[in-house]
């Protein structure tokens, strides 16, 4: 909502976290967002509210939200949320925002969050900053300073939403830290604040598929083992998959390998694929063209295995192995399996 006068800011209070409810549970990114919201709410002397739209939500998960930093957990448990229908969720969230007037709303920069929240921001007539990696309160005026990478991580932009409320941001998964649960923390669960939720008539989810292929979820992975043209073919990716499974990681790929049909598009990292920010990115036989680098250059620790010591990836990496990936990877697998 546009503020006619700056004093109207006072009518908006508390930091909201929009929970990521999917596959029948509240996803870990929600606890990261609560962890990020806590110091912001403290700086504003206000509360952290977590909004959960889902169905059959376990009490244990709601209590965990409180233990990890929420003051209020606002739950709408309804079968209308069984599958992801953007229109239904947006309508409910808009109604809750209009009723309770939060000062800020944070949501995971996940596929669901990035589809849902822009709709909510337009409908509530306020600003939205995408894919933030840093959030802070401006000590001078209490505004939310939202910092995000733009131009594929080549630039950090800090964004303000001074004259509109709530201030909305999606937050990149795996960047903020969840706080360790504290069972003695007190909070309140408020249920069913909306009398009835009618599912949107314009959309129906017909089928849902969870990939049976291991290592497809790049967004949630701490460890990504990625392959490029150096992997030579489908067989080579099997080698990467074996190592990824051993370290509990996911498999990434360069565009060249996706276009060659060695691995599905869901694994592609880079400008026309996904942007990832894992703890470890192990690049095997990827030369590091700019279009690939913009998708992974914010990972914490980049490791490259390549025969050629002079590629852009080898220059960017924190740890490099000069060698043949078909010798180094099997040896890594062997050594991990015996220790």
């Amino acid at each position: 909502m546009r503020l006619a006068k700056l004093e109207e800011r006072e009518n908006f209070r508390n930091i909201w976290v929009m929970a990521e409810w999917s596959s029948g549970r509240i996803q870990p990114v929600t606890l990261e967002l609560v962890g990020a919201a806590r110091p912001l709410a403290d700086a504003r002397r206000s509360e952290v509210w977590t909004v959960v739209l889902g169905t059959g939500i376990a009490d244990r998960q709601l209590n965990e939200l409180i233990a990890c930093g929420s003051d209020i957990v606002l739950v709408v448990d309804d079968p209308a949320f069984t599958n992801f229908v953007d229109e239904t969720e947006a309508r409910v969230l808009c109604a809750l925002i209009e009723k309770h007037r939060p000062e800020s709303v944070l949501c995971g920069a996940t596929t669901r969050g990035r589809a849902l929240i822009p709709r909510v921001a337009v409908q509530t007539n306020t600003g939205l900053t995408a894919d933030c990696t840093q959030l802070a309160i401006d000590p001078e005026n209490g505004n939310l300073l939202q910092t995000r990478p733009a131009f594929g991580g080549n630039l950090m932009a800090t964004i303000y939403c001074a004259n509109f409320r709530p201030q909305m941001a999606t937050v990149r998964p795996r960047v903020m830290s969840a706080r360790p649960p504290d069972a003695s923390r007190r909070g309140r669960v408020i249920r069913g604040t909306l009398p009835t939720v009618s599912a949107a008539a314009c959309k129906r989810v017909l089928e849902v598929f969870h990939s049976s292929e291991p290592g497809v979820n790049l967004a949630d992975a701490r460890f990504i083992v990625a392959g490029g043209r150096g992997v030579k073919g489908k067989e080579g990716f099997n080698l990467l998959r074996r190592f990824a499974t051993m370290v509990g990681g996911a498999v990434g790929a360069s565009r060249a390998t996706v276009d060659a049909g060695w691995i599905p598009y869901a694994h592609q990292v880079g400008q026309t694929g996904q942007t990832v920010q894992s703890q470890v990115y192990l690049a095997c036989g990827i030369s590091g063209q700019i279009q690939h680098l913009v998708g992974m250059q914010s990972c914490d620790c980049i490791i490259a295995i390549d025969k050629n010591p002079d590629t852009s990836m080898m220059k960017l990496a924190d740890i490099t192995v000069v060698g043949d990936l078909f010798e180094v990877l099997p040896e890594l697998i062997r050594q991990v399996s015996i220790t």
Partner: protein
Amino acid sequence: MRIVVCIKQVPATNDAVIDPETKRIVREGVQAILNPFDTYAIEEAVRLRARLGGGVEVLAISMGPPRAEAVLREAVALGADRGILLSHRAFGGSDTWATSYVLSQAIRTIGNVDLVICGKQAVDGDTAQVGPGIAAHLNWPQAALVSAVREVSTQHLVVVRMHEDGHDVCELSLPAVLTVVKGINVPRVPSLKGVLAARKSEIPVWTPEMIGADPAKIGLDGSPTRVVRTAPPPPRNKESLRFTGTAEVCAGGLLRELRKRSLL
């Protein structure tokens, strides 16, 4: 029936330059291209036109400076029937809220539009917010990250949406807005006929007045968000560790290092 494709002209490289005064992206002197994701949006619209048979028109629209006309010609070369450029000083500085407002007003003005297709995101801003924003302004249903259109009629669509851990299939009533990912198709190269059509095509320029845009909702003043500061990303640790030698030595060294840093 009409299908509108929203396309954006973006800098060819990601070496962004920001004007320290206005905080806006400097677009002068940088080679500009069609946003890569938007080529898939154009191709899908052209394919849907063929699947639906006759009576479907594909329009490409873009909001940007006069030189953005080039991407509209490119869209015509790739099979769009015509292009419209939304260009005016008052549009400058629009954030995703204002941009999606302007595009939605243009779509209302075009009339008889049943489907809007956007790219997943623009590679300069990387927001992915404009597609759902247009859907919200029009109050139409949306499907983001569409990787396949299974069924299409003048009344409905059945699409596949990508998620982190798989996908789902959903049915939407028209009118609706889609954002598409790369996997959805393989764009064609422009035909000779297309290139000639592009050269001859009239690209009209529309102003805020022509789309009935509220001056308070466009441009810098109509944008809820504002860039207050830009900075280079935090520098990466320059010290890098290199392993060479036999695979056994390299693997051993790497594992030791990963464990030392608690990464394994």
